[in-house]
Symmetry: C2
Subunit: 428 residues, 2 copies
């Protein structure tokens, strides 16, 4: 394994250039590979992961030992650590992707023209995908499998602290590719810890990288979004809102607030701000805050809310812009759905917002006027997830409006082309 | 009207900054504007164009006079010149866009989850569109109307030689917006001939420009594709192929070859290379070349083809890479559909390719293995056009694989969001 000190910046540029070229070369054979062949490769990958469990665990032990020595945080080490159960989950994940329908070749739309031309829009692979992730070795398998399913060559750049684990997993993926007769460079892992490799990916590998998917903390995503010369599928943060309308069912509102905030506080779909209709203050506010409080949630509130719930601390403007990713929620009152929408359009990261209401006109307005990737009615924001959407797996959640939005599953990793069938038509 | 000499580069930067900000401000009111309101605005625009016909023609006379004085080419002047008929076509085009179904709010997909959540994917506007075009004043109306229909603010930057004409048309568009109660900055025309304005658009107007559409010659498109920091919907060139298989109907093949090449030689969907199956040389080659020759087409051929058609001039490697946009076609033989696909994958600009064949297996292979935006079977490549596809109107044709591909009509100018309806579901 080479380290940053062993490989000069120029070497890394040349290395990445070669990786890009090999990925592009793999694109066509992969695009025309049949569904059976891709499924066989994915199944073989899952089997290889299980068969090489011992090797993967040993490689991971090295990473964990190095990480502990380097003084990495407990949370970091936890994400880095693989167990037998996690490896089996990984293999199951790959099998689940194998079982998904092949998106490539799917007819998305079909129509006939008055002149008899039959037009179809069919899915094609998107191109070479680059995935830049932090030290979660399981992303190697997830992202590799998902890209393969959509017929896209992928270049994986995992966190340097998990390079041994990722490499051991990558060997299994390549084994599956080769066993099924697919190009071994369809899934490449950047084999160096040199950070210059990321810079090369951001520059687009001389046109051989079509889209970047950063997976990790805010600073990684921010850097990729700012510096990438190719399109990026990502969300910088999930400042998700829950709005409780005057027409809301009280029990439901309290239950949804607790789940949206507290089920897992560290996920991007966790609610960060609760907006309560001023007309519901007397009835809904205190019971909802009591439920949150009982669940262990800290409440940061506007002055009006504090009048009803004095235990809250005072929220500042900064709170409306903060993704806590913790057991903290900001709370303010709004003048009905109109002001809720204004607040959300001003402060949201356009990831996920939910409304609790029984009045259908209010729900429709919320759905129509808010431009976030996911809007939910009478359901928890924590459903913002490709698996929960039935996509089988996701490579991440995107908040951009270009190409992919919301959970990015295999479908969003495809493009399309038109097939037109005629019987000798010439254009007049 | 300000010229490049009157406005310094810094002024232009500030001007464009303001244009970007006003476009972004118009995005939300436009996104939530109802279909009726957008239709009313478009209808009012068409009426204003007809009502102001005289003013538009006078402004155009100024542009044409200036252009002639500046020694612009005849073809350029022809594209620049408006007539009463062209103005009426323009108004009809805007009316046709008014009559299209509103893409915004359309449910593209809907499904239900086992937990009862009902998920819908619905179309939303894409964002602020920038259109950079050469001196075809009618693009002002086409592009402005199309973007409005999809709910997108648009910034139009027309060729400096048509600024008077474009401004006169733009006045009509703004009149329509205002009459319907829509933000007047939903359609802005860059009011300066300073080329620095284009540079500012390429930089993305501080995040206030979401996508760029260049319309014009190859050098304009190349510059935008190379320098833009935002996504670009475009095609650099249309090196379109027609492949005649051994199973082709001979009469059909000759008719399609002549139409694909000669109907209009200057359009991007015109065929530039003819590939003939070696197994069809004795039967198909000479009749097809005779038909092309009779239609006035120059033939540049490989040695094998020249043996059968000595009047051809010799093709070089450069011919396979050339978009003639003229009455010239390059011709070579290939060893069946396999070699035709290899040739196309190597030399095509991935715009449009057609096959003439009766063997369904050959057609399927052509359709599966070639990754161009449009593939046609037994039909002319000149059908590569949004109108011919039934899209009503197009802002251009894209050869990229990100977001939009093929003819870019109103649908491709949208994004989407998810609406999820529940009944109190929390995530376990």
């Amino acid at each position: 394994m080479l380290t940053a000190h062993e490989r000069s910046r120029e070497d890394t540029a040349a290395l990445m250039e070669g990786i890009g070229r090999r990925a592009r070369d793999a694109a066509r054979p992969l695009a025309i590979a049949g569904s059976d062949r891709k499924r066989a490769a994915l199944t073989a990958m899952a089997e290889a992961i299980l068969r090489r469990e011992r090797t993967i665990l040993e490689a991971n032990e090295d990473d964990v030992a190095n990480g502990s020595e380097a003084g990495l945080s407990g949370a970091f080490i936890d994400r880095l650590t693989l167990t037998q159960a996690r490896i089996r989950d990984m293999a199951d994940g790959v099998r689940a992707i194998a079982a998904l329908p092949d998106p490539v070749g799917e007819v998305i739309a079909a129509w006939e023209r008055p002149n008899g031309l039959k037009i179809e829009r069919v899915r094609t692979p998107l191109g070479v995908v680059g995935v830049i992730y932090e030290s979660r070795p399981n992303v190697t398998a997830d992202a590799g499998a998902l890209c393969l399913k959509a017929g896209n060559p992928v270049i994986l750049r995992g966190g340097s602290d998990s390079l041994n684990s990722s490499s051991a997993i990558h060997v299994c993926l390549v084994e599956g590719l080769v066993e099924a007769g697919l190009p071994e460079h369809a899934i490449q892992l950047v084999p160096t810890a040199d950070r210059a490799a990321v810079g090369e990916m951001l520059k687009g590998l001389s046109g051989n990288l079509d889209v970047l998917v950063p997976r990790g903390g805010k600073s990684l995503v921010a850097r990729v979004q700012q510096d990438a010369r190719v399109p990026v599928f990502a969300h910088l943060e999930g400042i998700c809102h829950l709005y409780v309308d005057r027409s809301a069912d009280l029990d439901m509102a309290a239950r949804l607030a607790v789940n949206a905030k507290m089920r897992r506080t560290g996920v991007c779909g966790a609610a960060e701000t609760l907006l309560v209709d001023r007309a519901a203050v007397a009835t809904h506010l205190v019971p909802i805050l009591s439920a949150l409080d009982a669940a262990g949630c800290e409440i940061r509130a506007s002055a009006e809310v504090m009048a009803a719930w004095p235990r809250a601390s005072a929220a500042t403007e900064a709170d409306w812009r903060t993704e806590y990713l913790d057991a903290i929620i900001s709370v303010r009152l709004v003048e009905g759905v109109g002001e809720a929408i204004d607040h959300i359009e001003k402060f949201s990261s356009h990831h996920t917002e939910a409304i609790v209401a029984e009045d259908p006109a209010v729900v429709e307005r919320f759905f129509r006027e808010i431009d976030s990737a996911i809007l939910l009615h009478n359901a928890s924001t924590q459903f913002a997830d490709g698996g929960e959407f039935g996509m089988g797996a996701e490579i991440g959640i995107a908040t951009g409006r270009m190409h992919a939005r919301g959970p990015v599953g295999v479908e969003q990793l495809t493009s399309f082309k038109y097939r037109v069938r005629g019987s000798g038509q010439v254009r007049p």
